[in-house]
Subunit: 137 residues, 2 copies
């Protein structure tokens, strides 16, 4: 059981972190996630850390790496379920999560990703509308 | 990290099993689940076992116990993501999962629970319609 399972809910991939993360399992997770996003065309990734009691700069960097990789596949990343003690530690360590959004729980994370996806579709629709106008001018 | 986190998606609770289950963590999970169903009024429980490689009669019994407890709160249980090797082992061990439904993956499990919830609401609606008729006869 050394690989963290990736679940799919509609266009969103869900990762629930329950084990103490070792270098090896983090690398495996990043690989698996990139493969899954590419294979499914998911528009979002949710990382649930409600079981995580201790964070360090290593885990903080993992979030940033996953978010940066997902971005390359046009997917957003939301970290959900952070414990209060973990949030305080992150601030005390001076760790920023980079491009990673956070939400209180899974449902709010799904809502954020749904909104981002809708905004993106709207923006793409507007781009399509713009093109013929530019061609005429 | 000895407690397995319980996630909530709408009216469904999601448990993703990633660690080797010990007696203690199984008991804690059953307690937590009963409390969460009672607190949230969830109509379904999904247990994802895509990370589980080995099953024995102990785990089989756990599914049955969780399903029976959930039933008492009027919630259905679906086990999803079973590996082929696990399915073969369950059959070879002669283990039936009792009242537990199974589905290929999380999305199919959510679909089953949604359908069951809709059927139940319909049945409750019909019951309400029946009552005045019986009163008049």
């Amino acid at each position: 059981m050394d690989r963290i399972p990736i679940l799919k809910i509609g266009q969103v991939l869900l990762v629930s972190i329950q084990i103490d993360l070792q270098d090896q399992s983090v690398l495996a997770l990043q690989e698996d996630l990139a493969e899954q996003i590419s294979a499914t065309g998911a528009h979002g990734v949710i990382i649930d850390i409600s079981a995580v009691e201790i964070v360090d700069s290593f885990i903080g960097r993992m979030f940033a790496t996953i978010a940066a990789t997902s971005r390359l596949f046009d997917a957003d990343t939301v970290v959900v379920g952070m414990r209060p003690a973990v949030a305080i530690t992150l601030v005390e360590l001076g760790l920023t999560l980079g491009q990673v959004r956070t939400a209180l729980n899974l449902e709010k994370g799904l809502a954020i990703l749904g909104k981002l996806a809708a905004e993106r579709e709207l923006a793409e629709g507007l781009d399509d509308l713009d093109e013929p106008v530019q061609a005429n001018s």
